[in-house]
Symmetry: C2
Subunit: 250 residues, 2 copies
DNA sequence: TCAGTTGTGTTATCTAGCGAACAGACACCA
DNA sequence: TGGTGTCTGTTCGCTAGATAACACAACTGA
């Protein structure tokens, strides 16, 4: 297991803290391995730990009664688990599963709540992240209604690529179908189309992205919208007066 | 315009404050009329006021580029506008439009931010509301993907009924179609089906709900899920120690 | 090396909702 | 009273994706 220092400064949310704040916070964390398939949160269950991924990918999945789980977003080192702790509720609304191995800084939820109050501006930063996350779900809700599967698939692959920092992804069509809440046949068709356009190639759970820009063009605008929103909100001038709300460049 | 006292205690979120806290908060508010069609928030614009509806209905609508607005939720006296202020971001992610006249307590966003810090537990209560709202959007995202129009329509009508506190609603099929992000023909068919089951009747923008329980049975579970979630989270034992997260009865 | 498993491709049928167009009923107003 | 606009109902063809079933290639492990 890599030492804590290796992870120091490797989560983009924690990077928004000052060096000394971050040092202080990371001191309360332990660095743990994320293994493919690990379940980090179960809907309706009390969350014991809050995670700040350093490497790897975690899916955040909502289930409604009578339907399969639907991937709401993928969380990598740009984000955190679980947003509910941030909002003072210790029950997770979603399931969280490791989709790509890696490691994360982990802190007991109660310690996290305490630190949130102790570290100046930390709660301002993370509330902004909650806003970004809220906006992402809004985007998804409309995306699910208006956008075609092929575009949604391209979007999901791009989200993987971003967080894996690699053009080679390991995920089967069956898994993608589950994530998107559709049948596998649909993914095969959509993936086949992307393949014929020479944007990706596919073989037994190994996706290679050949043309990133082409894939972006095939994706619905939701990919870009989410990304822009993250950058705008998270990198808006940090006011060190927590009374002042964030002003956004439109 | 009704006097402030008439509204005192008429918003369910403010009801969670103690009498003196509420009196104090309402002192910073003004009671304003909500007129049908009033636009209270524009996506991307800075929010000037935070609203606590006392009577009437406001729709909260997300637009993604290239698609029409989609109603994310209806807000009545059980909620507030705009959740972004709560999260320290002063830009609205959604459009807010008055769908049924009424009135609301309105407070300048900056004063609101200040009060949020001054009034003990107020921010705990409202962060919980943000959690409920987040969960609602999660539910919608899955609902849009998995549920049939007829069920989604029933759900929307029930949401109206709840907030209007009346079985007579004033909304055309065209408007419902826009809210649901579908064509008007689809709503005509779905509404026709509900009518044939004697659950509702329809005539030129006037809907009458005849069989509330039948309509609930025709609705997707999302209606109930949202409602239960609101009650569970908002009425969980208020801990007066803001360090302790909310424990949920599963 | 061969059997069993897993992942991908393909086909055929079915359905919800889209898209466009039109008809009739009602309401308001000159 | 008649004209015009609004709201609801209906039709027809079309498409995306569901559903089900099967073929086959590639990997795995005895």
């Amino acid at each position: 297991m890599p030492i804590i220092q290796a992870a120091f400064g490797s989560n983009r949310l924690l990077n928004l803290l000052t060096d000394s704040q971050r040092k202080n916070f990371v001191g309360s964390c332990e660095l743990i391995n994320l293994h493919l398939g690990d379940v980090l949160a179960v809907p309706g269950d009390t969350v014991a730990y809050v995670y700040f991924p350093v490497e790897g990918i975690i899916s955040w999945e909502k289930q409604i009664i009578g339907s399969p789980f639907l991937v709401v977003t993928l969380i990598g080192n740009e984000g955190m688990l679980c947003i509910n702790s941030l909002l003072g509720v210790d029950v997770s609304p979603c399931r969280a599963i490791v989709q790509k191995s890696g490691f994360a800084l982990r802190i007991p939820a109660s310690t996290f709540m305490h630190q949130l109050k102790q570290i100046a501006d930390f709660d301002v930063i993370l509330k902004r992240y909650a806003y970004v996350s809220y906006n992402q779900v809004l985007q998804l809700a409309a995306c699910n209604l208006f956008h075609l599967l092929e575009n949604r698939l391209a979007r999901l692959l791009l989200m993987f690529q971003d967080r894996a920092q690699s053009d080679e992804l390991h995920v089967t069509q069956e898994q993608l179908a589950e994530m998107l809440g559709v049948r596998r046949v649909g993914v095969t068709k959509a993936a086949g189309s992307l393949q014929r356009q020479n944007l990706i190639s596919y073989s037994r759970g190994n996706v290679i992205i050949h043309d990133l820009n082409g894939l972006k063009a095939s994706s619905c605008i939701c990919y870009l919208a989410d990304k822009k929103n993250y950058e705008h909100i998270m990198h808006a001038q940090t006011s060190h007066n927590t009374n002042t709300p964030v002003q956004l460049p439109i």
